[in-house]
């Protein structure tokens, strides 16, 4: 028998070679026949990367090949193989001259040499890369003949089939088609009851019934849940932040935004624009800011002692990679270190795209529900009303305010910033960094306890006071100024040491080494512009028997570790700048000489966690000194001071508001109203949170440079934002910013954007894309199997002409067009001939058949068993996992497996920890989110078999299906077998299948009766026995559980047929 196989197999190979030889009689086409050879064998040295180019010869352009290299001899003389150096060099027997050089170990095959020769012979015509020219709508072929055409998709498919002398398959049986379209659109199987209804309806109304079904499924919220995963893969979504600690983070609000957008069928161009630059849209809504979470889904390294910038750049590279794969279908990544070897993307162009994204904060924002937003609005209205009341009560308020302003202008105290020579987090777990404005910002690891110092030199001789400002910053949680989970801080103590520079010696930039000579200067009278009322430390940080308190500024200088200054006035009033002014005791510091100062900040108000979760320290601060006789002369916070300093007509509304508020607080007769206003804030809601993008303020603008070899320590020349020359241009006249870039990505003129989206939808439905390399449409991509169909769909998608109603960029319309095609509706059974000819179904002479994706596999089991819990959105739930999984965690997190029914939610909502991929999802190839994934692998392993046989939720599903079968499956075992089989596979079993099921059932029943198998444990585990239908007994429940477990593991259950 074995030898027969080989014979058949060899004849297949023979046919293949023959087919190839047939094609050989035509002139080779550059894109199809030549470019793959040159790209694999020549372009690495003779491509577009001028740094890697050898002998100044490039073969990727016709111009380059005709001109030749250093030697001056033309590599190609069209039509003249004898004169073409290229042909000479690939055919020579002289090893020194042979190309590719033997040591490159990429020799050409004789066939390839032959193809190249014929191409030169035929004139060596080059073609531009198909994917770099925008698609135009091709004419629909007049293929078909007698075949039934669902829509134009079929004409393209049939045309190819006719060329290949293949015939399409007949339509799949209605129940198979029903299950297929259910799994494809909503990711869940139909119920046996609905299968009956549909089969009847389909027999009666045919295509109309099917079309109505498709529309109904697309309208279902389940559609959005199924397809959200399609985007979440590309967006590398996970519920933790990756690297060593891999801590939980709140990003599900972004995930819910995706579900909502898909449910509403947000046009794909808008879908992209909002995710890349929603924050920059005019009057951006909360949702549009949430959308920008897309680029923030990447990993963040908060390992102890890291340099933040190194991993910020890693994160940026990851964002570029994500956009490249998910939107553009280009391997941008390659140009991170050097000019792309294969695609016309230069090193510089990579960083010009990078520049569009680089000038952003790593923002964290609150996300409020509709009700919460209404509350906030009510508070703001209340505030406005109260202030209006003030204005009404005091008719000449404007002149009063002006007087106050004039008075305040006199009360100014001059402060000199301490320009830190050095600063250090003692022990080095964090690395604070001085900013241009002399403030010190700490990002990276978040210690929970410790000290930070900064040193400076001043030439002032009589220092009277010190000021510390706690400052907000866009990179801090919710803007800071703190680094705690809610952006607040508690500063336990502050003290100053000083010495005349002459006593320290010259080596002032080794402050850590300076131990002698420094004297501590006593501080008195600490006054803050904002201080929290005295209160115990927040519960989040509380240890057992915790006496620590937070509150007034005086806590800063009381020398006690237990007390700390806090400027947190509660929700809605915590993310502001604030300051504390302290006096130098006695007569200040006097020195004839310049003074060396070392200021210490002490943090003792964090929690106990060593992994940064319970940090409570100040993210950004700035120090200043004064020589004013009374440092407290200026009662104004810096922000108000800055507002007053601004010319009246140039003040922003915020600044006007700020001045007004400061003034009203200073007027004693408004005490009551001021208190009423303070009262309003108490209702302020907390909200959820999201990581988002936010444009950096002008003073924090970040320039972009090229990085040599992608090395963060090697920034080179500065670049301006821009797009690669080989793609379409930016819209003329539009400002060069991230929003314009986003619109550029989603432009119908883009050669790849629509094609990439269409291709990935096709891939989801048919298992392989029309372009197999969904992530790469570049020069080295696989050629499309149906190029015209791809373009027809891409143009139809962006134009919105794939359905009856014109709806540009509609994903629903696109999916609808695909599933309505006859191509999609074909039977997926492969004949022997077809299997030989087209094992992977690239030609589409049959319907799609492949194992469902991980999430769908689990959701099938949940639906079939009736366990599925349909709650939409919200926090992810923790699935049960074996205890032993935690042993491999570097950091343990609080993993509380969700009880029923929460644990039976759709797989989309499972909590995903990157470093601990869910064993079930992992076995069925769900990506863990370390990087953008636009094409899953599909494996078939014993580990997956063990998971779907034995994982607790699958076992519970078997038990659930058994119970359901007894309840709903009819009175006889035959009926029940049919019911359960249909619930799993969507079709009625054949007699041989029923017989196999019953045989198992009977043999097990005997075994249970004999006491070998405990009925109760099998059917419910440790749970209580459910109520059984009349006439049924626990033994039957156990028997059907065993059968159900088999049925849930059937190839046809796990597979979309």
């Amino acid at each position: 028998m074995f030898s027969r196989w080989i014979k058949v197999a060899l004849s297949v190979i023979g046919a293949g070679i023959l087919a190839n030889a047939g094609a050989a009689s035509f002139a080779p086409q550059y894109n199809r026949d030549i470019k793959p050879i040159l790209s694999d064998h020549c372009f690495a040295c003779h491509g577009q990367d001028d740094k890697a180019r050898k002998s100044k010869l490039r073969l990727d352009t016709r111009e380059g090949a005709l001109k030749g290299g250093k030697s001056g001899t033309a590599a190609i003389v069209p039509g003249k193989t004898d004169e073409s150096e290229l042909i000479a060099r690939i055919t020579t027997h002289d090893e020194d001259d042979l190309m590719p050089p033997p040591d490159a170990k990429k020799p050409l095959t004789p066939e390839q040499v032959e193809t190249l020769t014929r191409w030169v012979q035929s004139g060596a015509e080059y073609q531009g890369h198909w994917a770099f020219t925008a698609p135009t709508k091709p004419e629909v072929p007049k293929a078909g003949g007698k075949s039934k055409l669902g829509n134009p998709i079929d004409a393209f498919v049939l045309a190819r089939l006719q060329r290949e002398k293949l015939k399409p398959s007949p339509e799949a049986r209605p129940e198979i088609l029903l299950r297929r379209v259910y799994l494809d659109i909503v990711g869940l199987p139909p119920t046996p009851k609905y299968i009956d209804e549909f089969v009847r309806d389909y027999a009666k109304r045919g295509n109309v019934a099917y079309m109505e079904l498709v529309d109904r499924l697309l309208a279902s919220p389940r559609y959005a849940e199924k397809w959200a995963r399609w985007w979440l893969d590309a967006a590398r979504y996970a519920d933790t932040d990756g690297y060593e600690k891999d801590l939980p983070r709140e990003q599900w609000t972004w995930r819910d935004w995706v579900i909502e957008a898909l449910h509403r069928d947000m046009p794909y161009d808008q879908f992209i624009v909002e995710q890349i630059a929603g924050d920059l849209l005019p009057n951006a809504t909360q949702e549009q800011r949430v959308a920008t979470g897309f680029l923030r889904n990447g990993m963040v390294n908060e390992e102890g002692a890291i340099i933040n910038e190194q991993f910020r750049l890693e994160g940026m590279f990851d964002r570029m990679d994500t956009i490249g794969k998910s939107v553009l279908g280009l391997t941008l990544q390659c140009a991170q270190c050097h000019t792309h070897k294969y695609d016309p993307l230069t090193h510089e162009e990579y960083y010009r795209i990078f520049a569009f994204l680089n000038d952003t904060y790593e923002g964290t924002s609150r996300v409020y529900s509709k009700e919460q937003l209404a509350t906030i609005e009510r508070i703001q209205r209340g505030l406005a009303e109260k202030e209006a009341e003030i204005k009404k009560r005091l008719l000449d308020w404007e002149s009063k305010l002006a007087e106050w302003e004039a008075e305040m202008a006199q009360k100014k105290v001059e402060w000199a910033y301490i320009d830190a020579i050095e600063n250090e987090w003692v022990g080095g777990l964090a690395h604070p960094e001085k900013q241009k404005d002399k403030s010190i910002l700490t990002l990276g690891f978040r210690p929970t306890t410790g000290e930070l110092w900064a040193t400076g030199i001043t030439t002032e001789t009589n220092i009277t006071g010190l000021r510390i400002e706690a400052l907000t910053h866009g990179d801090l949680p919710f803007g800071g100024p703190g680094r705690s989970h809610d952006g607040t801080f508690a500063l336990s103590d502050l003290y100053v040491e000083a010495a005349p520079v002459s006593e320290i010696g010259a080596n002032t930039n080794h402050a850590a080494e300076i131990k002698k000579g420094l004297v501590q200067i006593p501080l008195t009278n600490a006054v803050a512009d904002i201080e929290a009322p005295d209160q115990p430390i927040k519960t989040k940080f509380r240890k057992s028997d915790d006496k620590r308190r937070v509150g007034p500024a005086n806590y800063l200088i009381d020398g006690k570790d237990e007390t700390a200054w806090s400027a947190d006035l509660g929700l809605g009033q915590r993310h502001h700048d604030s300051q504390v002014v302290m006096k130098f005791a006695t007569n200040g510091w006097e020195s004839a000489d310049a003074t060396f100062l070392k200021v210490w900040l002490k943090f003792r108000h964090g929690g106990e966690d060593a992994h940064g979760r319970d940090n409570n320290f100040l993210g950004r601060f700035r120090l200043a000194i004064t020589t004013a006789p009374d440092p407290h002369d200026d009662p104004l916070p810096a922000s108000v001071r800055a507002a007053i300093a601004t010319l009246k007509e140039q003040r922003t509304t915020d600044q006007q508001q700020l001045i007004f508020a400061a003034w009203r607080k200073s007027v004693p007769e408004f005490k009551e109203l001021n208190e009423q206003i303070a009262e309003l804030w108490k209702d302020y809601p907390e909200g959820e949170s999201v990581l988002n993008l936010a444009q950096r303020d002008r003073e924090w603008h970040r320039d972009t440079t090229i990085y040599e070899r992608g090395n963060w320590q090697k920034p080179a020349r500065k670049v301006e934002p821009g797009v690669p020359a080989f793609l379409h241009a930016l819209r003329k006249g539009a400002p060069v910013n991230r929003l314009t870039f986003a619109r550029w990505l989603a432009d119908p003129r883009s050669p790849t954007t629509a094609r990439v989206a269409v291709n990935r939808i096709w891939q989801s439905i048919f298992g392989v894309g029309l372009v197999e390399t969904a992530e790469d449409f570049g020069m080295r991509s696989a050629d499309p199997t149906h190029p015209e169909l791809l373009d027809w769909l891409a143009v139809g998608f962006s134009e919105g002409t794939l359905g009856e109603k014109r709806t540009p960029w509609s994903l629903k319309q696109l999916i609808r067009a695909v599933v309505l095609s006859s191509t999609y509706r074909q039977d997926s059974r492969a004949s022997e001939t077809l299997l030989e000819r087209d094992p992977r179904n690239r030609l589409l002479a049959r319907g799609p058949r492949f194992r469902a994706e991980a999430e769908v596999v689990r959701d099938i089991a949940l639906t079939t068993s009736g366990l599925l819990h349909e709650k939409m959105g919200g926090r992810s739930f923790f699935p049960p996992v074996p205890e032993s999984l935690f042993a491999l965690n570097f950091v343990k997190i609080d993993w509380k497996p969700a009880p029923a029914p929460e644990r039976y939610r759709r797989s989309l909502y499972m909590f995903r920890r990157r470093s601990m991929p869910d064993p079930v999802m992992g076995s069925f190839d769900a990506p863990n989110g370390d990087f953008s994934c636009v094409r899953r692998v599909r494996s078939n392993t014993p580990l997956a078999a063990l998971a779907s046989l034995n994982e607790p939720v699958f076992v519970e599903a078997a038990q659930g299906l058994a119970l359901r079968t007894l309840r709903e499956g009819g009175g006889t075992d035959e009926e029940r077998a049919t019911y359960a089989f249909r619930a799993c596979t969507g079709r009625a079993p054949k007699p041989a299948e029923v017989a196999t099921i019953l045989e198992l059932l009977r043999s097990r029943d005997g075994r249970i009766a004999e006491g070998w198998v405990p009925a109760r444990e099998v059917s419910v585990g440790d749970a209580k026995l459910p109520e059984l239908p009349a006439g049924a007994n626990p033994r039957q429940l156990a028997g059907w559980t065993i059968v159900s477990r088999v049925l849930l593991n059937l190839d046809e259950t796990l597979t979309k047929n």
């Binding site: 102890g304 391997t331 080095g428 696989a782 198992l1000 585990g1021 440790d1022």
Partner: protein, 478 residues
């Protein structure tokens, strides 16, 4: 080598099909399964079935090593206190390092301009070559004649997670296949009942996490499979409560029968593979517990390793490693995350050596006495070294990427030598540097691969373990 799963053109597919029939054969089990179909259907199916991606394969040239045991010491052991004696560092303890050493240097935590710290333990000469290692490693001292001690490793990363995945995947960026995954991709496995790449872990979880043994963009089947030290050794290995073996067999027989009917209907090669995988899962259900059952190991072997069968720890994992490779597993990797001695250097090293020294040496001795050391490659080491400068006052060292030590033995390795040298402070490598890429190139070489040719096309690029770097280190080859 020919990509196994992704093929660009139909022609290449046909070639790989021929390759499959010629080089991989079709397992006898598959033949039996196919006999339910007609001859022509069976032939068509066999022809289009994906080549068994785990079937044993020949590498580029005759390999020295058929399998690998990698004892990864995560957290980064101090080379200065264990493997690389530096009397001069002792003499200059408490003084600042010479400024010229610190140019462009970055440690993780400390200001590089911190005082030097002398070695914490005594070194003595061992073996025929008189190799000096620390007193904390009495058992490893006994095997030095079989070991190649490398004192000239260096790497690019200074933080744990990136450095660990650098060692294991050749990149600081997540998402690349691990050395074990590449090995499996290149060689397949000889075990039909156990995964080809097994991961064992003791002490803490690693910083690099699952990426240390991940398959990156390679198909999932090449990922390392962690064997658990509690509960099921392989996740979900046990049948649900109440299911006895007879029921499991009867269930799988019914499943097979039903799936064969689907196979006859759809002719889908994936169905065939699925039938085989459920059978392998069943075999694993008995082979894994057999593997974990130490009752047949003689007492003197248990004692040699220091194994208490009830205690999951590094010693037990060493013995398990031997048992795994005896059963045909290709790549076994032990992770022992415990070596990050920023403080408590003396105490921490003492404890860690107690936990690892005896069993590491026992594994080498045991492999040798069984004749397995001839074709098994053994590697012991971490992701970077520790600073010659103190962290804190005088009982800790920071991360140091400029130099560190590892040791190797077994297949194809020159035994009883010391390779490479650091300067008098153990700061920089001064002779025969080995970068991580060189090490990985050498490991692949021993497995029979030209590291520049073991590639996988992903996103239009032929990726390899060594990126665009790596030189085989001839000096450590026998």
């Amino acid at each position: 080598m020919e990509p196994i799963t992704i093929s660009r053109t139909e022609l290449r597919q046909l070639v790989s099909r021929r390759w499959f029939l010629r080089d991989c054969g079709v397992s006898l089990g598959a033949m039996a399964l196919l006999s339910v179909l007609g001859g022509r259907a069976a032939a068509a199916l066999a022809g289009s079935a994906p080549a068994n991606p785990l079937g044993p394969r020949q590498p580029h040239f005759k390999p020295k090593a058929k399998r690998v045991i990698y004892m990864f010491q995560a957290g980064a052991p101090s080379h200065l206190d264990l493997f690389d004696p530096k009397p001069e560092l002792g003499k200059r303890s408490g003084k600042l390092p010479p400024p010229e050493l610190l140019k462009d240097y970055r440690a993780a935590f400390i200001n590089p301009n911190s005082a030097l710290l002398g070695p914490k333990f005594k070194f003595a000469k061992h073996g025929q070559a008189g190799t000096e290692i620390a007193e904390l490693l009495p058992k490893i001292s006994e095997i030095l004649d079989d070991v190649c001690l490398i004192r000239s490793m260096h790497t690019d990363a200074v933080n744990h997670a990136p450095a660990q995945i650098m060692m294991n995947t050749g990149s600081q960026q997540f998402g690349r296949p691990s050395l074990g995954a590449w090995t499996l991709y290149g060689l397949g496995t000889e075990s039909e009942n156990l995964p080809g790449y097994v991961v064992l872990s003791s002490a803490n979880g690693t910083s690099g996490g699952a990426s240390n043994w991940g398959c990156g963009f390679l198909p999932t089947i090449y990922a390392g499979v962690p064997f658990r030290s509690s509960g099921d050794p392989v996740l979900y290995l046990s049948n649900p409560k109440g299911f006895d073996d007879d029921t499991q067999r009867a269930s799988l027989d019914a499943l097979k029968k039903l799936n064969q009917l689907a196979l006859a209907d759809y002719h889908d090669p994936e169905t065939l593979a699925r039938i085989q995988n459920y059978e392998m899962a069943y075999r694993m259900q008995s082979s894994a517990p057999e593997l974990m059952d130490f009752s047949k190991e003689p007492k003197h072997i248990l004692e040699m390793y220091g194994v208490d069968p009830a205690k999951p720890n590094f010693a037990r994992n060493c013995l398990l490693a031997r048992r795994l490779i005896e059963r045909g597993v290709r790549f076994v990797q032990l992770f022992h995350e415990a070596w990050d001695q920023h403080g408590d250097l003396k105490g921490g090293l003492t404890r860690n050596c107690k936990e690892t020294d005896q069993a590491s040496a026992a594994l080498v001795k045991d492999l040798k006495q069984r004749g397995l050391l001839e074709d098994t490659l053994v590697i012991w080491g971490g992701e970077f070294g520790r600073t010659p400068m103190a962290q804190g006052t005088d009982d800790g060292r920071d991360h140091h990427n400029r130099s560190y030590s590892i040791w190797m033995t077994g297949a194809g390795i020159k035994r009883g030598i010391v390779y490479g040298e650091t300067d008098e402070l153990g700061f920089n490598v001064v002779r025969d540097p080995i970068h991580v890429h060189d090490l990985n190139a050498t490991i692949l070489h021993l497995l029979g691969f030209d590291h520049t040719k073991l590639t996988y096309r992903f996103q239009g690029r032929d990726f390899r373990l060594t990126d665009v770097h790596g030189e085989v280190v001839k000096g450590i080859l026998a």
